[in-house]
């Protein structure tokens, strides 16, 4: 089999993909750590009220939202979201399988388009509001939705392109 060399564009895409993957994993893991520390601290403070919190609910929601949505995007990239895959498995490597890949891709794009675009509108709607304790802009919370949506759209398109180009498809 001949070695297919990467074009400069592909290698740049590959680097971006890798960096994005690492960033998403790290950010969501850090969010989980923050959540663990905060919730444990909430318990501690209840017994030894040395500091007055009040802002913890805001940070918990922020970290939880980013963990779930960015983490979902990272899991979307690796194709590890829960799927019933006996039909795609049975058709893998055939022309029908490739057509099915396109249908699945289109369905996912349909959902993600609404998720990302209306998520963006939701973010815009919240503009001007701030959180009560930390006085942070509210869009910081909601923008996790369109950001993860856009990333998932990118990976869905990449998956469709890969499936379309896949060599050795039988009839």
């Amino acid at each position: 089999m001949s070695h297919v060399s990467e074009t400069p564009v592909e290698s740049r895409v590959g680097r971006i993909d890798h960096a994005l993957d690492v960033a998403m994993r790290w950010i969501s893991a850090v969010c989980l750590t923050v959540l663990l520390c905060l919730v444990s601290m909430m318990v501690l403070v209840r017994f030894w009220p040395v500091v007055a919190l009040g802002w913890e609910d805001e940070v918990v929601e922020l970290a939880f939202a980013w963990m779930v949505f960015l983490g979902s995007a990272a899991v979307w990239r690796s194709g590890e979201h829960i799927v019933i895959d006996f039909i795609p498995q049975a058709l893998a490597g055939t022309r029908a399988g490739r057509a099915l890949e396109m249908i699945i891709g289109a369905a996912m794009l349909g959902f993600l388009g609404v998720f990302a675009w209306y998520g963006w509108l939701l973010t815009l709607q919240s503009q001007g509001n701030t959180s009560p304790m930390l006085v942070l802009p509210r869009p910081l919370w909601y923008v996790s939705v369109p950001v993860s949506g856009v990333v998932m759209i990118g990976y869905t398109i990449a998956r469709m392109v890969k499936a379309f180009r896949q060599p050795g498809v039988k009839g």
Partner: protein, 430 residues
Amino acid sequence: MVTAAIFALLVLLMMLGVPIAASMALTSILSFLALGGPDLLLMVPQRMYSGTTSFTLLAIPFFILAGNLMNTGGITARLILFAQCLVGHIRGGLGHVTVVTNMIMAGMSGAAVADAVGTGNILIPSMERAGYPRVFSAALVGAASTIGPIIPPSIPFVIFGSMTGTSVGRLFLAGFVPGVLMGLLLMITVAIISKRRGYPHGRRASLGELLRATVQAAPAWGSPLIIIGGILAGVFTPTEAAAVASVYALAVGMFVYREIRLADLPRILWETVRNSVQVMFIISAASIFGWLLIQQQIPTKMVEGLMALTDQRWLVLLIVNVILLILGCFMEGIAIMLLTIPVFVPLVTRVGVDPVHFGVIMALNSMIGLLTPPVGMCLYAVSSISKVPIWPLAKELWPYIVALTVCLFLITYIPWLTVWIPNLVMGAAR
């Protein structure tokens, strides 16, 4: 008509291989477009956002984290050793060890798949060395792991509680007796199979060995005490208990057993995020789907339809159980709960079933679904760690599935088994 179309679309998308979360959300989107126009679409991100960020649901990643920390930190291994000293000498000894280990682990972890992977990685190879066929040990590990979410703490109970407003503490307590009953029925099944196939029994542990194993496992016992004691005493909410249990498992793994190194933490944290978001993203999508069902008044219509057939409590429970068992063969357990709670909870409460009792029925039913082919998450997990293909594994599993189904019907028709402890501890419901 609308109801049938909505469900047909959902099933079609899922069967084609669209991720379950995307199938639920896309079905909702298309239904909104067909029924109300694009104005409703803003509900999609709104509900998906608010549906995942509730404080109660935060217990899910923490319970998964606690399980992962226990597996990496040596707690699981010590518990297995302890169980071996306790029941290893009975015929089919390691089989009983598997069940007992899972019953103890159940008191600390809330997710069946994590338990299956944690105990399976250790027990399947050691059972093979002791002369058990791999398919037997793999099937048993899968079956025993379903005890995890029934004995508290439990992710399905957290989800049921957060969706129905039922007290999670009460649900946790209600799981005790059914969980122990599951363990006993599985042990009876192991005994019958072992006798028939002439499986070996281990050597009886000396008193010294038992004492040593007990002492070594002692720090592991702290976790269930913290979780259950803390929730019962009203010191923490389930979410806080889950966080404290994670910190405890981390401390034991790092400082007592010294098996977790700082360098392991990023991997453990990422694995926890990955396992959690697989569930959370479905919960997120289910909250928009649930909103669609309610907006279309589908639960009310279905309840009225079923009530027109019968209002006998035993028959309603039978129908509900059979529907859930059939769905369990084809869908992921949490997704089934999320989809059917809005329909079934109003139905069973109409015929006088305590929601706490029903929560346990649903959780146990979805646990059986984890084992039944073609779609069963525990079946897949155990198959992947043991390298036993799905179908032979499923064939080996059927006696355990029968045992668990017997348990399901016992707890369905003897409500006392579930509601006795919560009523005793927390007072009668309403």
